[in-house]
């Protein structure tokens, strides 16, 4: 049975022999395991192994892409990718120059989390589930644990040869309460670049989550309308990812004149306190790596500095076509897909306002915490809080049902008028784009205050 190391060595010389402007290969070998619970019982447990790869070729600006599980007949696959690129290519090829790199890197935990005995993982999850079920009026619970360890090899016709290993652990839990007529739920999700101990000692948070689900049964619905809204670091992190991060992805901008005008560098997007960063070079997070899936070294990119747009996220192609520097943001969720421009670790930089200062001047507002999810259409966004409280006369008041917040991205960024002193990163999320999901990312923020934010409600 051929393995990816041997195939990669063979490929190194072959990629240069073909008549294409550029060719790259990705090879991956991974193992993963998962455990899920529905209600009191373990629902499923399994292990999985995967091997595969792809060849991507560029000819006259057109791309060919061939992905496969079988490592046989690689020569034919290279030929096919080049042929496809030739059919697609009608112009000229543009790729930003990057250094030729030969390197080996290891991302995250050195220990393969898949090898931790299943009995140990199950024991921990059993204890969390038992805690959830101690809460009265609880209807059911969901737990999903997953881990993975992946070796990937990237090589291209320019001579780069990069071997990266990475591990990943995620845990999502939900408590669902019911009083017979209605159903409410509370969630938590977390992740780590492979460190299983990050999943331990969560007893307090689990108890709190279950209590929240039950508490929501008695909570009233917020009245819909415009409010001053304070977001906690988790939700503000989702906001910065959804509302601004996706807009910073150059693949939506580079061939679109209207978008280039809208997203021109130097344009003012927010108040001077606002700084937004994305970067895989920020260490030890789920979006961290040494090289992206085009072999570009990871960077840390200021997207907004003192309220002004100063950067965006690039692949080699988008960087060259826009005359900007590549940022190392070309990522593929796995070998079945070509790399596209994606976020890594995205966050609002810490400011100076304390939480008390932030809420003290709000007569009637909403304090929104935690998240269910969020989507964006570039111009408009919606994101869902996991829980919400009214703010009345400068104090946190009654619990209300989870709210959906929505707005225009450009107005809303201008309406961020206070940034907290308590930056925290959330690692439980996975990002989806163009059918590639879930990609490990992290996002974060301090508490932020947004003026005139539209809240859905009765």
């Amino acid at each position: 049975m051929p393995n990816i190391e041997d195939i990669a060595k063979e490929l190194a010389s072959k990629l240069k022999e073909h008549k294409a402007d550029y060719i790259e290969a990705h090879l991956e070998d991974s193992v993963s395991s998962y455990i899920t619970y529905r209600g009191k019982v373990l629902e499923s447990i399994g292990k999985s192994a995967s091997v595969g790869g792809n060849i991507r070729a560029l000819v006259n600006g057109g791309w060919g892409f061939v992905s496969f599980n079988s490592l046989e007949n690689i020569d034919e696959r290279i030929e096919l990718a080049v042929q496809e690129a030739r059919i697609a290519g009608k112009g000229s090829s543009h790729l930003a120059k990057i250094p030729v790199v030969v390197d080996t890197a290891s991302i995250g935990s050195k220990q393969n989390p898949v090898n931790i005995p299943l009995a140990h993982k199950k024991e921990l999850l059993d204890s969390y589930n038992a805690l959830i079920w101690k809460t009265p009026r609880l209807k059911t619970s969901n737990i999903g644990y997953g881990d993975a360890y992946k070796t990937s090899i990237f090589l291209n016709s320019e001579g780069s040869f990069i071997r990266q290993e990475r591990s990943d652990v995620t845990l999502g839990m939900a408590a669902i309460a019911s009083d017979g007529n209605q159903v409410q739920q509370a969630n938590m999700s977390l992740g780590s670049p492979g460190d299983f101990t990050a999943m331990e000692n969560l007893e307090g948070a689990v108890r709190e989550m279950a209590a929240k689900a039950v508490g929501l049964l008695a909570a009233p619905q917020a009245k819909g309308g415009e409010y001053t809204v304070v977001l906690d670091p988790v939700l503000a992190g989702v906001f910065v990812h959804e509302a601004f991060g996706h807009l910073s992805e150059a693949d939506f901008v580079y061939e679109n004149d209207s978008m280039r005008e809208l997203m021109v560098l130097g344009k003012k997007f927010g108040r001077p306190e606002l700084n937004i960063i994305d970067g895989a070079a920020v260490p030890d997070l789920r979006g961290s790596f040494n090289y992206d899936d085009e072999g570009t070294p990871a960077t840390k990119t200021h997207l907004i500095k003192e309220g002004v747009l100063v950067g965006r996220l690039h692949s080699r192609e988008t960087a060259e076509k826009m005359g900007e520097k590549p940022t190392g943001n070309a990522r593929a969720v796995n070998y079945r897909h070509p790399p596209i421009v994606r976020m890594t670790n995205t966050y609002i930089e810490q400011g100076e306002t304390t939480f008390d200062e932030m809420i003290s001047s709000i007569k009637e507002g909403v304090y929104a915490r935690n998240w269910y999810g969020g989507t964006t259409s570039m111009e408009m966004f919606t994101f869902s809080a996991g829980e919400a409280f009214m703010i009345r006369d400068g104090k946190i008041a009654e619990l209300v049902r989870p709210v959906v917040l929505t707005g225009n991205v450009f107005e809303t960024l201008q309406n961020i008028d206070a940034i907290g002193d308590d930056l925290a990163m959330n690692q439980g999320g996975g990002c989806g784009k163009s059918g590639q999901s879930p990609l490990p990312v992290s996002n974060g923020s301090p508490h932020i205050r947004i003026l005139k934010c539209l809240v859905g409600g009765k």
């Binding site: 447990i45 292990k47 999985s48 992905s67 697609a88 159903v183 259409s377 111009e379 859905g456 409600g457």
Partner: protein, 436 residues
């Protein structure tokens, strides 16, 4: 490959009481257009083999795409069985499945040139219609093979073809963005894009002007796409046998009761010929059959796989679906029965209201309870029976169960939304709207 399935079953026979092998192989060829131009041609091959075992009354599972590595599969499945869920059911034995046509050999024969031409045709039709539109388009053909065998003697297989065209257009003026799009898919080749293009051109026409609606309660027409963006996720969760079993479904104790408007009927239909969601049997080897979920507003059935069915004291309805892991209850093709009112009649009944094509974020709240709250991504104002322009910065808020209890009218022109849903327009008499 069939040889491998037999080898795995043989190897497992001495180690476990029951075993089942499920194998999936696919080939997909997408042709991708970006920014009005052909961007890439792709070919994607993929396969996976899953092994489910029953050992000492518990279920173990492993999957791999290395057919050579039988040892990993068997060892991992046996290892996980020590901790697995209780095996409370029997794997099905050999059955004579009814024929469900899902393979058309013509689909594989569509050439790359023809696919490129289809994409060029769509892009040029739309850029002629609206010069500042930027289109992304995809034309894709695929074939899929499913093989399943188990230790109860089942051996079954089918092959499916698929073809999909889709186009999305973006029109940007300043910071104002309009997104339009349509798609069509079938097991047959989709070589006529007229319907797709007509639909996009209609969206462009309707969105040409902007209109404002105040906050308040208004009548709303949800188009089939609009319904898909808000109503389908909560309904599919509520009729999932597993959610019912857990007591978390609002429909759990409502079978046989008049829960919805009597005009509302909902089915799952996996046997429609040449529909991409169709199949002769599910991913556990249980025969596919049409399943009534709601008839005339009365919930009739929930959908089950083998394990959930056994726990609930019911039979599998043939809805075991896999997404890489163990099977779980999964819908196939959802049909909302059409009514007898034309969209024109609905419009003429409305003095002031909304016509909603897409809600953003409506399925990210409390899905189980049916509450939704979504931003109108694409929707229009209705004034005195006419569509007057696109609304923005507008949210609608409702509860799926309350809205479907009192339906003003159901459209007489159901259409496919993606490959897995056929729905008509639904006219709701009063929904909360919040706008800036």
């Amino acid at each position: 490959m069939l040889n491998i399935i037999q080898q795995i079953l043989d190897k497992t026979a001495a180690l476990a009481q029951s075993a089942e092998v499920f194998m999936f192989t696919s080939e997909e060829t997408p042709v991708v257009f970006e920014a009005n131009r052909l961007k890439s041609l792709q070919s994607k091959e993929s396969r996976s083999i899953s092994l489910r075992v029953f050992k000492n009354g518990r279920i173990g599972f492993a999957s791999s795409n290395k057919p050579e590595d039988i040892d990993f599969l068997v060892k991992s499945a046996i290892e996980t069985a020590e901790f697995g869920a209780k095996a409370n059911f029997q794997l099905p034995s050999q059955t004579n499945f009814s024929v469900v046509e899902v393979y058309d050999s013509n689909t594989e024969k569509v050439s790359l040139d023809e696919m490129v031409n289809l994409g060029n045709g769509m892009v040029s039709a739309l850029t002629e219609y609206t010069p500042d539109i930027l289109c992304e388009a995809s034309i894709s053909r695929n074939t899929l093979s499913i093989d399943i065998a188990n230790s109860s003697g089942l051996e079954a297989a089918y092959k499916k073809s698929g073809f999909a065209v889709s186009v999305e257009g973006t029109v940007i003026h300043g910071s104002d963005m309009l997104f339009v799009g349509e798609g069509e898919s079938s097991c047959h080749p989709v070589l006529d894009t007229t319907r797709v293009l007509d639909s996009v051109r209609l969206q462009l026409d309707r969105a040409r002007n902007q209109a404002k609606i105040n906050s308040g309660k208004f009548p709303v027409i949800f188009t089939p796409d609009g319904l898909a963006s808000a109503f389908i996720s909560p309904l599919m969760a509520a009729f999932n046998g597993k959610v019912v079993l857990e007591g978390a479904s609002p429909m759990g104790n409502k079978l046989g009761q008049q829960v919805f408007d009597s005009k509302f009927s909902l089915y799952d239909e996996p046997t429609i010929a040449f529909q991409p969601g169709s199949r002769p049997f599910d991913d556990e080897g249980v025969a596919s059959e049409k399943l009534d979920l709601v008839e005339h507003g009365i919930p009739k059935n929930f959908y089950y796989d083998l394990k959930t069915g056994a726990l609930a004291g019911k039979k599998s309805t043939g809805h075991g679906g896999r997404a890489g892991g163990l099977p779980s209850p999964s819908p196939t093709t959802i049909i909302i029965k059409e009514g007898n009112t034309s969209v024109e009649e609905m419009l003429s009944d409305i003095k002031e209201g909304l016509y909603i094509e897409a809600l953003m974020g409506a399925t990210q709240g409390n899905v189980l309870g049916g509450d939704f709250s979504g931003n109108v991504l694409l929707g229009y104002k209705i004034e005195h029976g006419k569509i007057t322009g696109r609304v923005k910065d507008t949210m609608v808020f409702g509860n799926v169960y309350q809205l479907l209890k009192d339906i003003e009218a159901i459209g007489n022109d159901a259409k496919w939304v993606g490959a897995r849903l056929m729905a008509p327009a639904i006219y709701c008499p009063s929904i909360s709207v919040a706008s800036k």
